[in-house]
């Protein structure tokens, strides 16, 4: 019986985490954008405006849930739930520490990749259900973009899987540090199984994975509909894209899922490329920094720090680069990222055979 309680506790914990992260994330986004533009951002609600997003949330809860008269009611009402649940369920297979993973799936990475794709369905439902030209245009763009960018993202991931020889997120994470059971080689020649730290991360085990990481990072920006790939919700052209017609908590859930998605894709890149919950500090001689800073508590800290840094980079990029046009977007995806990802996959195979 008690394991059911654990299930619920983990589910509620992850939900609470994504909700709190959305609140903090929106606040951070507003502050980062403000500082980049020499403004101050929210300052009025609470100290430094820290209660601003909470106040916004309270406002959204009180708002009326409007269903447009011409909307397809079932699709319209279900869409935000599907969008959010798809992203939320992705967290199920994410490892947080050496022994800390909600479900240790053999097919973890495949599952995450598949469940994130369900979000596309939700976005299409939202756009179609709204029965509004801006919404449908936004969702069509979103679907075209996400499906296109899944190809370079997928090949970047496969190049990691070929090195790791596993789809289990926890196994991939364990390989990148001192807890690894097989030998870890820095750049394929220096055995760092006992040293660990930053040298054992995937991007340093096989340097071409650095390119794969950049490819995955760019593709993940597109998958979470973040600028410069935010044509699905291009404010200047499409009002707000697929969530134009949403109000109140339904809108809040679309927003939640955007921020959860940001964190989830950052966490996936961290697990696959940047050493997951492993410490960046290596063992140097008698100073066993890596041994001292590995554990469940440390694992949560490291993975949070790494993921939040990537989220910060996402925000930084959003407030710098202008939106790509649809043809530029497809150009980048099919003519630059996809061939590069293929090359990475090829090198991964050669690397696995000859250098590992």
């Amino acid at each position: 019986m008690s394991f059911y309680l654990t299930y619920f506790a983990i589910g509620i914990g992850l939900f609470a985490f994504s909700a709190v992260f959305a609140l903090v994330g929106v606040y951070a986004e507003r502050k980062v954008s403000a500082f980049i533009q020499d403004r101050l951002g929210p300052t009025e609600t609470g100290k430094f405006g820290m209660l601003q997003t909470l106040a916004d949330g309270l406002k959204l809860i009180q708002k009326e849930l409007i269903v447009p008269a011409a909307a397809d009611k079932l699709l319209f009402i279900m869409a935000p739930a599907i969008i959010f649940i798809a992203v939320y369920m992705g967290f199920a297979a994410m490892p947080w520490g050496p022994g800390l993973v909600p479900t240790s799936l053999n097919l973890g990475l495949f599952y995450i990749f598949a469940i994130i794709s369900i979000e596309t369905l939700g976005i299409l439902m939202a756009g179609w259900g709204s029965n509004n030209k801006y919404s449908i245009l936004g969702s069509m763009r979103s679907v075209a973009q996400i499906i296109s960018y899944e190809i370079p993202a997928g090949f970047a991931i496969i190049s990691v899987v070929m090195i790791a020889q596993s789809l289990n997120m926890q196994t991939i994470a364990t390989q990148q540090g001192i807890l690894s059971t097989e030998g870890v080689k820095f750049f394929g020649f220096w055995d760092v199984s006992k040293i660990g730290g930053i040298f054992a991360w995937n991007i340093f085990r096989a340097p071409h994975l650095l390119i794969a990481f950049v490819i995955y990072f760019i593709a993940s920006l597109a998958e979470s509909n973040r600028a410069p790939f935010d044509i699905p919700e291009a404010e200047s052209e499409l009002v707000a894209g697929f969530h134009t017609e949403y109000t109140g908590m339904r809108f809040a859930f679309v927003f939640f899922s955007e921020y959860s998605m940001m964190f989830l894709v950052s966490m996936i890149s961290v697990v696959l490329f940047l050493g997951a919950w492993n410490t960046p500090l290596p063992n140097v001689g008698v100073v066993h920094l890596a041994n001292w800073t590995t554990g469940n508590g440390w694992g949560i800290i490291w993975i949070l720090v790494k993921s939040l840094t990537l989220v910060g980079v996402q925000m930084w990029i959003r407030w710098t680069l202008p939106r790509l046009r649809v043809d530029q977007l497809m150009n980048l995806c099919w003519k630059v990222l996809t061939p590069l990802a293929f090359a990475c996959m090829l090198i991964s195979g050669i690397w696995r055979i000859f250098l590992m």
């Binding site: 500082f35 980049i36 020499d38 403004r39 101050l40 930084w316 407030w319 680069l321 630059v336």
Partner: protein, 247 residues
């Protein structure tokens, strides 16, 4: 940047051409087939295209990095509060560096004392000549005057006041801030002030009423005027009758 790129695009086909001519000299005419020529041409063009694409990608990354480094500098730059100093100050443009925007309702940039902002009327100095209402291009000034029975006072510049202003309304929602009314005013009683932030909850609050007369007072003055006019009329009639009687 654009200029550089143009030059590069021109250069590549030229160099490929010259290389092609060299090849022509080496290979005897008989052995060189048209097909081979064709293939070579395609290869060369593909090469240059690839080089162009490569340049484009590198250019994309460098320019993106330029932007990113600019924004990160601003992200970590000092975010000091900006001091409110007038535009005439020597330091006015220098202090834009390293400070954030003006926090408006709490701080505001000083504006010239007689800027073209809200209109204000010193009704005591007004002689109700109606010139401002006549010159207004958008008819936002609405004046009703009542003739006084006698001189009712003097303005501060010594003009005699002969009219009461029963109504002196300016609709600031209509006003186009041209300032013509302030130019024609003979007593300079209508001026533009440095007040610009007038936000109201009711549109009617944007109609400023400058008349200091109540409706009762206006009615009283009107009655007095009517009485005086009637008296005058009566006096006129009496005089006419007397004239007729005398004749």
């Amino acid at each position: 940047m654009l200029k550089d790129r143009k030059v590069k695009i021109k250069k590549i086909p030229e160099s490929s051409k010259s290389r092609f001519r060299q090849n022509r000299k080496v290979i005897p005419e008989s052995r060189k087939s048209r097909f081979r020529q064709h293939i070579m041409g395609i290869l060369e063009s593909q090469k240059s295209r690839f080089r162009q694409m490569n340049n484009k990608a590198i250019n994309g990354f460098t320019t993106a990095w330029k932007g990113l480094s600019l924004t990160i500098r601003h992200l970590f730059a000092s975010n000091a509060k900006r001091k409110v100093i007038p535009a005439s100050d020597n330091n006015y443009f220098k202090q834009l560096e390293g400070t954030n925007t003006i926090q408006y309702p709490k701080q505001s940039i000083s504006v010239p004392e007689v800027g073209r902002y809200q209109l204000d009327v010193e009704i005591d100095d007004c002689i109700v000549c109606d010139l401002c209402a006549k010159i207004c291009p958008v008819n936002c000034i609405d004046i009703e005057s009542i003739k006084a029975t006698e001189v009712i006072g003097q303005t501060s510049d010594g003009s005699k006041k002969m009219l009461y202003a029963a109504k002196f309304d300016i609709d600031m929602a209509k006003c186009m801030y041209c300032g013509l009314c302030t130019i024609v005013c003979p007593t300079e009683c209508i001026v533009m002030t440095n007040q610009y932030d007038r936000t109201v909850f009711e549109l009617s609050d944007l109609t400023y009423k400058f008349s200091d007369m109540t409706t009762e007072e206006a009615a009283e003055k009107q009655a007095l005027l009517d009485k005086q006019l009637a008296e005058k009329q009566a006096a006129k009639l009496a005089a006419m009758k007397q004239k007729e009687g005398g004749a």
